[in-house]
Amino acid sequence: MAPRNKGTYIALATPLVVLTVLLVYPVVSVIFRGLTAGAGMTFTDTVIFNWPYLEFTIFQAILSTIMSLLVGLPGAMLLARLKFKGKNIVRALIITPFVLPPIVVVIGFLQMFGQYGVIDSFLMWALRSGSSVLNLATDIPGIILAHTFYNVPLVILLVSASMERMNPEIEEAAEILGADSLQRFQRITLPHIMPSLIAATILTFLFCFMSFPIVLAFGHGSYRTIEVQIWNAFRWADYGQASSLVLIQILFTLTLALAYSRLARSSDGARGPTSSIKTSSLSSYRPTEVIMIILYFAAMLILVVGPIASIFRAAFFDPIAQRYTLDGFRYIFSGEAGGGLRPLINSLFYSSLATLLSVGLGIPLAYAHGSKTRFLRPLSSIMVLLPLGISSITVAYGLMTAIAVPTGLNINPWPIIVLAQTVIGLPFTTRSIEISRRSIDPLLIEQADALGASRLQRLFFVELPLLAPGILVGAVFAFAMAIGEMSATLFIALPQNFTLAVAIYDNLGVRKFVEAGASALILMVACIVAFLAMEKVSEESVGGILKW
């Protein structure tokens, strides 16, 4: 590697410094202040008092993970092994739930599985009942179902990708040697897909552990996770409890994030060709199996496609007045005090800024992460992982207390919202840029050097154009995450700072369902468009971003 000069070091160190100031310092100061200042509950009291909530957090995460695996594994196998038309479309569409903001998922779920939702209405009609028959979008069933909805695509994609890389000749050899399908699955398939299974399990658990909007909406205040409790404790000014909870949560999540990075890295071995995978058509299965497969598809349709399609209904159907209306969209474009135009503009403005910042920080961070300098690489590794292991509420809480208050920004904390959204999306942006950077032919860099380009010229004329796909994907990812972000924004925002995501939650609370639905529809369209753009630009599936 050619010798580095000071300017390069500064450029690479900048994002590390920024992240230290914006993430490490606020969180550490919050924990420190909470544990020592004495306002509110002590740490031990917090643990004792919140024990039931901690139990619930772990319980629902475990249950959700198990459900996701149970529902996802068959899907993974079908995706890898079954031959059917339009597989690529299905593969691309399958990750859709995962790119939807949680609050949008809430709307979809309420509309599909909730009171007077699609299923409930059907059952009411079928059973000739005047009142609600089935409400699955509430309490524990709602939380578990919604989490499953979210994570099944993840399981399917990760595991099926691993399955497709399996050498079919190994299985054929086993078959010739007399193993039946169960034995083959146990002895050959399962060990091969184990790393991806572990990765999917940890990611799912982590997501469910830190889940906020879904638990908030379906838990009705009775069912709380640690994340929700931090939010509550902060709101009733019990900073001791809030900080203690932050500490407890971080211990869990950082451990998990670390485990994930270790395990995911080790499984990223040979990327074999997928062309030789053996797929069989539907006709080659036994009738009972065919029926099961069809049932599975139907169930997936209801579970996954249902809520997404329901969002369209939610945007137009007012369950209180029981009629279809355009009021939802009138709300979106209303510039009045309670209208949706301000949140819409806020969403666009904050997300765009957060995207710019994410990219601006992500590029040097990606370089630092790939650097050969001794301390830069592990340090930037940690910095990139950190936001994954720290919940959004914690980030927001830290920023508010450590940065907004001393600077007086809390009078109109929109910069803090932008910063929070940036920090939350940064790991993914960096990862995307890094993937791109690794695929740049190093000889091109050497040519640029030999031909006399300065570092800046080389960066601008050679590296950035080649990084462009990665930057674009990273930017779109950051934008989608920022615009859908609800937790941190809810924590920080004054009513004039509300984004569309927060407005959805607010409207839900006062039962303005159509307004919430229309907003959700807009967010969903934005996220899906963003995702499709990403898929088009990058050859590698977006799933690559999830591998560390």
């Binding site: 009705h220 709101r235 009733w236 000014a237 960066l459 609370g509 039962r511």
Partner: protein
């Protein structure tokens, strides 16, 4: 190809510089527009003065324009989503560098808490003479808060859904009545952590059980926890109650019948169901106050503001926009207030406690409430 047809390279520094400059200018402009104003900041809760026909903006503009003119200042009403509890927490978070000058909405219970007193500066307004002395003492004898409005927190119900004919117990409602599954599943209340009416209701219930019935108050909650609906805030609760046909009872204000009459233009369809014990009807009195924020940026202006809030210009807007009683005794109430219940007409549950009792037990009570309400 001629020379001019070949592509020319641009200097990257110029391009980068231009882009950065544009972004910085745009952001700085937005920042300047949002931050750079001399201002006077009032923290208050959502739906403050918002329940009239005109909406909060118009009412506040009209009520406070003279103040703004006299002192040449722009009042920034920061409407914080949620009820007053959140405001206290926000003020505590900003303790090191407060940006608010004055806070409206902390009530007579909230002010008993250390967290509230921690962020307030006591102030004795010269205008206190204009209001009833008992109100001042009931709210806060130490003057951390100056009374602004008051009202009663009680159960209300919609006469379209149930009435005293179908449910005769409504005339003399007790907690035992409410514990029955049919009524319990029709009850909507608010979270005592986040909502002052919710807290009032909890304290009402504790007052009745501890002081009148001498029973363990947590038992009632244990019985009803699976049936009742606890919403986070009053707005959420009110929305649920008014749109869901299965919800009959709402923990709300004694002025709701007046609101209903005003809205319908005729007799109200909302009625109150105060608790009935010892042959008396009881309700909980809530007094909301204005407080001077400790170490606020404009203390003198803050004091002037508090004084101003006791003027007719402001107090006369309260009845029809806050749907609470103004504290000034010389304000004429609109006709529809005939339907509202006044504290003089009820036995006040607050009197069952002495003020130190609430202050010292509140945290424990809230914790016990939480423990009981954990599902399963």
């Amino acid at each position: 190809m001629s020379v001019s047809e070949y592509p020319v390279r641009r200097n990257p520094q110029k391009l980068i510089g231009a882009v950065v400059l544009i972004v910085v200018i745009v952001v700085a402009a937005y920042g300047v527009v949002t931050f750079w104003r001399p201002r006077f900041v009032v923290y208050t809760y959502s739906s403050f003065m918002d329940w009239g026909d005109e909406g909060a903006d118009a009412v506040l503009e009209r009520a406070f324009a003279p103040f703004e003119e006299e002192y040449g200042i722009d009042i920034d009403f920061v409407i914080l989503s949620g009820d007053a509890n959140f405001i206290v927490s926000k003020l505590n978070a900003e303790e090191a560098n407060p940006i608010a000058d004055v806070v409206i909405g902390i009530d007579n219970i909230l002010v008993l808490q250390e967290t509230a007193r921690n962020v307030l500066e006591p102030y004795v307004s010269p205008n206190l003479g204009l209001i009833n002395e008992t109100l001042v003492d009931s709210l806060d004898p130490e003057h951390y808060l100056t009374p602004f409005d008051f009202g009663l927190v009680t159960l209300v119900y919609s006469m379209n859904k149930i009435n005293t004919t179908t449910h005769p117990e409504l005339a003399n409602l007790t907690f035992a009545d409410l514990a029955i599954h049919e009524l319990a599943s029709a009850l909507v209340t608010e979270d005592p952590h986040f909502s002052s009416p919710g807290l009032s209701f909890l304290l009402s219930q504790i007052a009745v059980y501890e002081k009148i019935l001498h029973e363990d108050w947590t038992s009632w909650w244990d019985t009803v926890e699976d049936d009742i609906d606890v919403e986070e805030g009053w707005s959420d609760a009110w929305s649920l109650w008014s749109t869901d046909p299965t919800k009959q009872f709402l923990v709300s204000y004694g002025t709701d019948p007046a609101y209903s009459a005003n809205y319908l233009g005729t007799a109200p369809d909302t009625s109150i169901a105060p608790l009935f014990y010892e042959n008396k009807h009881w309700a909980w009195m809530q007094i909301e106050g204005i407080g001077l924020v400790k170490n606020g940026p404009n203390p003198n202006l803050g004091k002037a503001f508090i004084d101003y809030c006791l003027n007719v210009a402001v107090q006369q807007e309260i009845a029809l926009n806050q749907w609470m009683f103004p504290v000034r005794y010389d304000i004429t109430l609109p006709e529809v207030y005939d339907y509202a219940i006044h504290p003089d007409e009820m036995s006040i549950l607050n009197t069952l406690f002495n003020s130190t009792e609430i202050a010292s037990n509140l945290q424990d009570w809230l914790q016990q409430y939480d423990a009981v309400m954990i599902p399963g």
